[in-house]
Symmetry: C2
Subunit: 432 residues, 2 copies
């Protein structure tokens, strides 16, 4: 049993600690003998979840009318995407369809496109980022590794800022964005953040909406990937950032992204972007250079299958029924195995795809490494921080959706033992 400032291992005598380590090592040996092969690395929907969208594959057939509100589906044109798909996307994000472009299947690709445009051609009347020396992106951490990889690939300096229970540390964000003209962007997953599950508070959203950036070409990259991805049935509304900007007097401040990658099919959903009307002029001209026009059959199938926000919500309720027991299992296993020891903390998300786990300082790499030796692949330790450098080596992203409940339970049982052993060994090493 832990106390307020010491964990259970710190309270043990060295003899007790050695005995505990020996017992945990025996358990690990037993696990190793099982030859497990489990994967909790990525935020992937399970086979049961993707099966929910199979009826979408019957929506467009050789008999379907291939015209969408007067627009051709089966030929070039319609660069902004089909009207019905744009309306659907707009409903998911709560914005005006006139400002939405639906293009391709990857919102990450749209983020990459938006950065390419600013980097190569420049935005807001400013020089291209490529000609402005070292530019910076703020990276609320822990955060999404693929976001950080995109900005890093442009030579952009990724600057970590702390994540709080209500969103990024806004004092730090405001200070950096308003003082440093080299800060050109910030990566945000405002609802069910990857990996913490945090929903940004209204105050945090309002502070974003009222930012006065030092750089006119600063933009918030608002990746609303999990806009409709709650799984408890409880509504956790996110304040609409465009509404908040409107209340604050308007401005060109946000690129918002979304997709149906975790509504219908991963990699084969529809991806969309919205921004202020002025920013959309700019983005449309970039897209016009990059592509003749978007793939439209998938857009039509999505519009016919999901129909509108009510259809999306019904689909997400079906996902929730599959996802929720997995997150409940994580909560139960971690609580049973670790709560009393005081060696770890973790988040309790009501939506999204991840649980963010923190063990003792210096434990994350060891934990993930030993898990791998035992046949359980987890997201690499450090992946949730820019350049893969977690300053305290504590954070591990748990992705519970893909495995079956049985597999997940088995993986968590291993995880609990491994976390205990790593923590006990760290304590023992500190006494050596």
């Amino acid at each position: 049993m832990a106390t307020a400032d010491k964990n259970a291992y710190q309270l043990m005598t060295t003899a007790e600690l050695d005995a505990t380590i020996s017992e945990l090592e025996r358990k690990v040996d037993d696990i190793a003998a099982q030859g497990l092969k489990l994967d909790m690395a990525r935020g992937k929907p399970s086979p049961e979840q993707v099966a929910l969208s199979r009826p979408m594959l019957d929506m467009v057939t050789s008999e379907t009318v291939l015209v969408d509100e007067g627009m051709p589906v089966d030929n070039y044109g319609v660069p902004d995407g089909l009207p019905s798909a744009r309306r659907l996307a707009a409903q998911i994000l709560g914005v005006d369809p006139a400002n939405v472009v639906v293009n391709g299947s990857s919102s990450l690709n749209l983020m990459h496109d938006a950065i390419t445009n600013a980097y190569v051609r420049g935005i807001a009347g400013c020089k291209p980022w490529s000609q402005q020396g070292t530019v910076k992106f703020l990276c609320p951490s822990p955060g999404y590794d693929r976001h950080f990889a995109v900005s890093a690939s442009f030579g952009i300096e990724n600057v970590p800022v702390p994540m709080r229970a209500d969103g990024p540390d806004m004092d730090e964000v405001v200070r950096l964005v308003e003082s440093d003209p080299q800060v050109k962007g910030i990566w945000c997953v405002p609802k069910y953040a990857n990996p913490t599950g945090v929903v940004y508070s209204d105050e945090v959203v309002r502070r974003f909406a009222t930012l006065k950036p030092a750089a006119p070409d600063f933009r918030i990259f608002w990746d609303n990937a999990y806009a409709v991805h709650g799984f408890t049935g409880e509504d956790e509304p996110l304040l609409n950032i465009f509404d908040a900007i409107g209340e604050a007097g308007g401005g060109n401040l946000v690129y918002e992204f979304g997709s149906t990658a975790k509504v219908t099919f991963p990699s084969s959903g529809i991806a969309f972007i919205t921004a202020s009307p002025i920013d959309m002029v700019d983005l449309r001209s970039a897209f016009a250079i990059e592509r003749v026009s978007p793939e439209k059959f998938s857009q039509l199938a999505h519009a016919l299958f999901l129909k509108d926000l009510d259809g999306v919500k019904a689909q997400m309720a079906r996902h929730a029924a599959i996802v929720r027991p997995r997150f409940e299992l994580v909560e139960r296993k971690l609580t049973e195995g670790l709560a009393e020891l005081g060696i770890a903390s973790w988040t309790h998300p009501k939506g999204g795809y991840f649980v963010s786990f923190d063990g003792p300082e210096g434990s994350a790499k060891k934990t993930v490494g030993l898990m791998k030796e035992l046949g359980v692949i987890m997201t690499g330790a450090g992946a949730t921080w820019p350049y893969g450098v977690d300053p305290h080596d504590t954070n591990i992203r748990i992705a519970p959706t893909y495995p079956s409940l049985d597999e997940l339970g088995a993986a968590l049982d291993v995880f609990v033992v491994v976390v205990q052993l790593v923590a006990a060994r760290l304590e023992r090493a500190s006494r050596a």
Copy 2:
């Protein structure tokens, strides 16, 4: 009737010429009164052509096994594209599937990605293009406006080089590529070139394959968009540039692109890229940053519908039956209306989507402008040259596929009258 060095209007007395102009102006007035609304602007398949691919829409249904040679279709992963789609793409291009990535629906987007990678991150161990001062792309002209727009959007200097009947002027290409390290690329459509319809000769392909570029990070952008798009039934083989490079001792020289945009559905085909194994390592790492994984349902549908190169050829024969009469009509109308006057020349392609037309010097903008006034939209004059600047203002791209035969005939009747009037007026103005 023209002579070898004078056209019919040049041979007229001024009185004859004035009478001819008056008669042509009456014809134009009659046309204007018809209120035509015809579009010959872009290389778009006709509705009959896109209907050929409707059966593809029944290939993937809710009952389909969503695994392709062991790879999941309905979840993340498979970053290079489905095995069956890669094999199909490899057969179309005549290359090893191991070096093919199928990703998205737009080959133009893959070209943009390849340039972005070289511009932002650098290739072949060289500094990024963005840090090498003004870099240049060679643009065989007349050529494809969207190619030129992509390179121009990066601030790359587009340098026109002449197009010949057997491909680009290779003396000029060799001289520029081998002497100037700022030359980083050349845009090529090697088969049924846009807009001339030229198929590059074996000698031209061999001279490309044996280039010794001054810049190690020079690449040929080999857009084999019309690899299987002959419409006369006569085979006009293109020497495989990778074979030619292999014979010449190998090297990392070519990015080749293709798509099924004009095999199945425009904007909703599958797009692919191939290059040397070393270049593919580089391109794969770029794609890995830009997207989680490609859309795969469209890939599966294509593989099931087209199956293999024989399936593609059968589909293209069906396209040819629709396309060929349109090109024959262009040839007949232009010959009947213009051949004896000696005021114009045009190409006689056996594949692809365009006829390249040259009127008298200074005629193209006037011709396209007057066509527009009469209700017939053509590709903008100059579009086939970098920055839209045709040095002699002669070239017009004719795109005959989209209109019906009746519409096309009507548009060509107008075109013939307009070309005559513009040429006659130019001759009259030269005498003023």
